[in-house]
Symmetry: C2
Subunit: 413 residues, 2 copies
């Protein structure tokens, strides 16, 4: 009948705060791997884009004033003195009364200040007849008109999308500094667990947490490192956590944290260094047996073994730290008002999270609690969201208005 | 003054439809790589989850009727005959008047039908005193209560999320059949182009399309294979496209498609096989010089060289085919009503797409057209969405109500 020193979620976070704070790291990545990452610094262009005045269309580079007065019925004849192709650099200097054939994207030769589109010009015996006048800089894409040298193209702490990396390509930046992905060791404990795909012997079940926690870590911008499904043995747990501290920034270990026969994990961690276990027991349901330890300046989160409990505690306790480390903003949680479909009993003194399904009935939105229990992964996979019952409430009545938080958060997308 | 045989976007799609239809393929992937993929078949569980009746909490397995009448003040004494740990299989058969210590998740021994939680039991001299009665199946998680053998856990054509793969783990499925990612060859042509990161010589610019089109392909569930930034040479283009047809399902080639000096790509493709180029010129802006070819039953989309044009044409013409191949649903495009901030002139006979920025002014939503031109990638990266001007419109007046399609589509996220 051992009792945990249960504290609130907020108190648990405050306790961790004294021993560890998330410190994001920077890393350089190629712009082709930068989508979804978060910029560490603002990024300025080192070049004008385009880097020179270029023809917007295929046509003829001219001095605009040479074309003034040209019309369909009275074209102006200019001497054709050459050709500039895109990708080359023109050496000529355009003299008054002359013109140069030019392709889309090719640099404008010196002396030219406009382009007459091919549609309005006809070549004839070393000359070109211009059938429409152009104004200065018409059909020319000016140097720096897209992006100016020195211009900030991406702000600090921006999560990069497709167009951002296209802009990086345009300014020729190959590598940029982004927030590093925190490495998160994921360990499953439980002698009853086997890895999916393996043979299921009598008394065993498949390990769900390895998968659901690893993917939750990824959704928060972290890089999960799965260290195995291990049995409830003191030495195995100690070795796995010790390894996790070495290779990762954060350690997640699920199972074996309830105070009973299986309370091995906190005891094993207690032998690894100071301060060790700093929180054991949080006043939330599911999630009461959760513990937090700090060893060698790395936090270790001990999550419940039940898959739903592990995911809920991850979402409430762990996710924010990973978002802070990775810099990736948490997707906003949408909230929907609904009426509770059936009376709900809740444990006093615990903040309770209850998965619900949303249904429409007689034009009303109803939230149906899913009471399959924390062991049932389908209680989450069939839910639309969850409601939160505060510490002091024991009963929520049928028909009472409740706030349903839709699953859009990091772990439950 | 060559003219393209310009047709509408719908006509272009209908023309392609005669020669090629997207045929999705199936592929097996590990469940750990299945997030975001689309299931090819429905998935049934081959096992009950849990596969046996198990203890929901640490405590004592009993025959419920043996505990009837037990209270805090008058406990009932049962003989303690053993212990079952999670992960083991109990061989004993519980006789009336006896009890077995049991840990969370351990299988219930035969003869037992309930669990008394540790909090309500005290062990004493080979016996256990029970301080609270339990009903049959109390504190027991029944075989199949989460998922029943034969139950469909994932429907056909479902895009898998974190909870779906957690369910796959729970039923022990290691590999599942999903829609394959279409391979898409991406080729950039233009003698003026250099790859980002390389030295920028006079007359050259950085290639944006390689990046923006590859990432757009990825966003539609495809796998881009970049075949290089190649110069405007007939033989180079022919070799690259020929290679693309061999290794990929779809070929995207940008640049070199306008009818002018640089009209090499359609000519090069025309030599590769029948039917060859089936569409050349689409009545949209940007995007007029777009072409479509079919060679060896593979479609080749010739996109404009200007980055904004290439992305817009990708979004309007190519994206839907890739979504159909990958099975990944297209993210819904949100629409916002706004008033046009300035008069807009449009080319008659072309469906025009104009990037706009949304601003609030005097409590009104205004759409400001960004008129930097198709060459400027910042005209997209600074836009919130775009408006569409139909074929027959030439002027949209200042203050006119317009529908702004927000960038949420596949290529422009």
């Amino acid at each position: 009948m051992a009792e945990l020193g249960v504290i609130s979620l907020e108190e648990a976070k405050a306790a961790l705060d004294k021993f560890w704070k998330p410190k994001p790291r920077d890393v350089y990545v190629s712009f082709s791997h930068a989508i979804g990452r978060v910029s560490s610094t603002e990024i300025k262009s080192k070049i004008d884009v385009p880097p020179f005045d270029r023809a917007t269309y295929d046509g003829f580079a001219v001095k605009a004033s040479d074309t003034f007065g040209a019309t369909e019925s009275s074209p102006i004849k200019l001497k054709l003195v050459g050709r500039v192709l895109a990708g080359t650099w023109p050496r000529m200097h355009l003299r008054p009364g002359s013109s140069v054939e030019i392709t889309t994207g090719a640099p404008l030769p010196r002396g030219a200040d406009a382009v007459v589109m091919s549609e309005y010009a006809v070549v004839e015996d070393g000359s070109v007849n211009i059938y429409r006048s152009v104004s200065p800089w018409e059909n020319v894409t000016s140097r720096g008109s897209d992006i100016k040298k020195g211009q900030i193209v991406i702000g600090r702490l921006k999560q990069l999308n497709l167009l951002d990396v296209a802009v990086l390509a345009a300014i020729g930046v190959k590598k940029i500094m982004v927030k590093d992905r925190p490495k998160v060791a994921v360990i499953s404990t439980g002698s009853e667990l086997v890895e999916p795909g393996a043979k299921l012997r009598k008394g065993k079940i498949y390990d769900v947490n390895a998968t659901s926690l690893s993917e939750s870590v990824r959704a928060c911008g972290g890089e999960p490192v799965f260290l195995g499904t291990i049995s409830d043995r003191f030495s195995a747990i100690k070795a796995a956590v010790s390894n996790g501290i070495k290779i990762a920034d954060v350690v997640l270990i699920s199972g074996g944290s309830s105070v009973g026969t299986g309370d091995l994990t906190p005891r094993a961690i207690a032998t690894l260094g100071r301060p060790g276990v700093i929180v054991h027991g949080i006043a939330m349901k599911p999630g009461k047996p959760t513990f937090i330890a700090v060893v060698k300046n790395k936090p270790i989160f001990g999550l419940p073994g039940y898959p739903v409990s592990a995911l809920m505690v991850f979402d409430q306790l762990v996710a924010d730290y990973l978002h802070e480390l990775s810099g990736i903003p948490r997707s906003r949680q949408s909230v929907v008002q609904a009426k509770l479909a059936t009376k709900l009993l809740s444990a006093r003194g615990r903040q309770e999270f209850v998965p619900v399904k949303l249904v429409e009935k007689d034009g009303q939105k109803l939230a149906e609690p899913i009471l399959k229990g924390s062991g049932a992964i389908t209680s989450l996979s069939t839910a639309d969201g969850y409601i939160e019952v505060p510490l002091e409430r024991e009963i929520v009545e049928e028909g009472e208005s409740v706030e349903v938080k839709l699953f859009r958060g990091c772990s439950l997308v």
